[in-house]
Amino acid sequence: MVPFGGWDMPVQYPAGIISESRSVRNNCGIFDVSHMGRIEFTGPGAVPFLDTILSAHVAALKPGRSKYHMICNEQGGIIDDAIVYRLDVEKCLLVVNAGNAEADMAWIKPKADAHDGVDMRVVTDEIGMIAVQGPKAIEIVDSLSEGTASSIRRFRIGDITVAGVPCQAARTGYTGEDGFELMPPADRLEELWQALKEAGCDECGLGSRDVLRLEAGLMLHGSDMTVDNNPYEAGLAWTIKLDKPGYYIPGEALRKIAASETEKVIAGFRMTGRAIPRHGMSIHDGSAGQDAVGVVTSGTHSQTLDADIGMGYVPRRLAESGTPIELDVRGRSVTAEIVELPFYKRF
C-alpha cells in the first residue's frame, strides 16, 4: 500500500502489474478508485456556473451525458482534468483527481458560493467508486444487472442495480477499454467488489492503471501536465470549447495561447534502445551530452505492446512521428523515436 492523495492505495494485488494489465486488455479488471474526488452541483445556477469554470460546454450536455475537460486558472494553466456528468437539468457531478481535490476546491468553492443558485457538495466519502474495465466488462456488469448496464452508451451515466447494490453507472474509464465506473453507496462498496470478483473480474491496483492509461495515451495530471502547462501544449486543445456562450473565466487567456503555436508540445515516444523511460528524464536532440531539449513526463514498460513507451514535452520541430530522440537514462544515452499517440487503441 502507498499513500496517494491522502488515501492508502494498493499499487498492485498479488497477481502483479503485468498480469493485471493483461486482465484488463483481455478480460476484465476492477479498480477501487474511491479516492477520486466527487463534487455535486445542484440548483438552477449549477450549469451556468460550471460553464464559467470548466472547459466543456456543460449547458449543451443532455442529462445522462458526460464530458472530459480541463479546469484552468485565469492564465490558462491546468489546475486539474476532470469529467463532468450532467445527472439532471439542474444537477451535475464533477469527478476530479484525488491529488488535486484541495486545489480544485480552493479554486471553485469561493466562486460557487458567490454565484446565485448553486449548491455545492463534496460526496467523495458518501459514494464509493469501482472502475470495471475490459472487453468483458459490459457482459459481466450486464449479467449482474439484469441486462440494464448495456443500455447505458459510452460516455453516458445512468442509475442501475448491480448485484443488488444501487449504483450510478458511468460508461467511462481510464484504461482505453470499454467499461463502467460504478458509484455505489460507500458502505456497500465491498459487497459490490466481491460480487464483481465472483463474476470473473480480476483485482487491479494503481500500478497497472498507470500502465494502461499510458498505453491509451491518456494524460495524468501532476505528471504529464501541471498548473504550469496550458491545454494546447499538453495536446488537450480538443477538450477546450472557447466558442460557448457566456463568460468563461480562462477564456481570454486561452484564446491568446490558441492564437499561435506553443513552443513545446507533448509527444509520445517508443524506446529503440533498451531502457524504461521514467518521469523527469531529460530528452535530447542528438547525444545526451548536448543540452536537454525536453523532459519525460510518463514512461513505462508495456507488456501489451512489448515495448518501452513514454510521453514528454519536446520542441515542436521534434514532435513529428519518426523523429529520433535520445534520453538520458541515469547518465547513459539511450535512443527513442517519436510515435503517434495513443500507443494502444481499442476504439
Partner: protein
C-alpha cells in the same frame, strides 16, 4: 521463506557458498518489492567486483534498483538466461533466478553477511 543455507546482505542479495564459488541473487523480499522484473543488466564474466560494490541494475515495471555484490572477487559466470527471461527472478528467486557466480577472494567476507534469521528480522522491520 528464505533458505537457511544461504547468506544475506542488507542490500537484499543472497549468497550460496560452494567451496570458492559463491552464487549470487536477489532475495524474495526484494523481488516482491520490485514486482514484475523487466530488465536485468549484468556485467561480463571475468570482471572483478568488490564486496558491496555495484554490479548491475534490475528494473521492474514500477522502479529501477542497483545491484550490489554480497562478496568480492572475480565474476566467473553470468546468468544469461535471466537477461532473456527476467521473470525468472520473480518466479524462482533462489533457483533459476540467480544472477552471478563469483570466485571469492576472501572467505572472511562471508562472516559480515547475515543468516536467514538475521535477514528476516531486518525485513520484518
Amino acid at each position: 521463506m528464505n533458505p537457511t543455507d544461504l547468506k544475506y546482505s542488507k542490500e537484499h542479495e543472497w549468497a550460496r557458498v560452494d567451496g570458492n564459488t559463491v552464487v549470487v541473487g536477489i532475495t524474495q523480499f526484494a523481488a516482491d518489492q520490485l514486482g514484475d522484473v523487466v530488465y536485468v543488466d549484468l556485467p561480463a564474466a571475468g570482471t572483478d567486483i568488490a564486496q558491496f560494490g555495484k554490479f548491475g541494475e534490475i528494473e521492474s515495471v514500477k522502479t529501477v534498483s542497483d545491484l550490489f555484490s554480497p562478496v568480492g572477487g572475480k565474476i566467473i559466470e553470468v546468468n544469461d538466461a535471466v537477461k532473456d527471461s527476467p521473470e525468472k527472478v520473480n518466479e524462482d528467486t533462489y533457483g533459476n533466478g540467480w544472477l552471478l557466480k563469483i570466485e571469492i577472494t576472501d572467505s572472511a567476507q562471508l562472516d559480515t553477511l547475515m543468516d536467514a534469521a538475521g535477514y528476516e528480522s531486518l525485513t520484518a522491520e
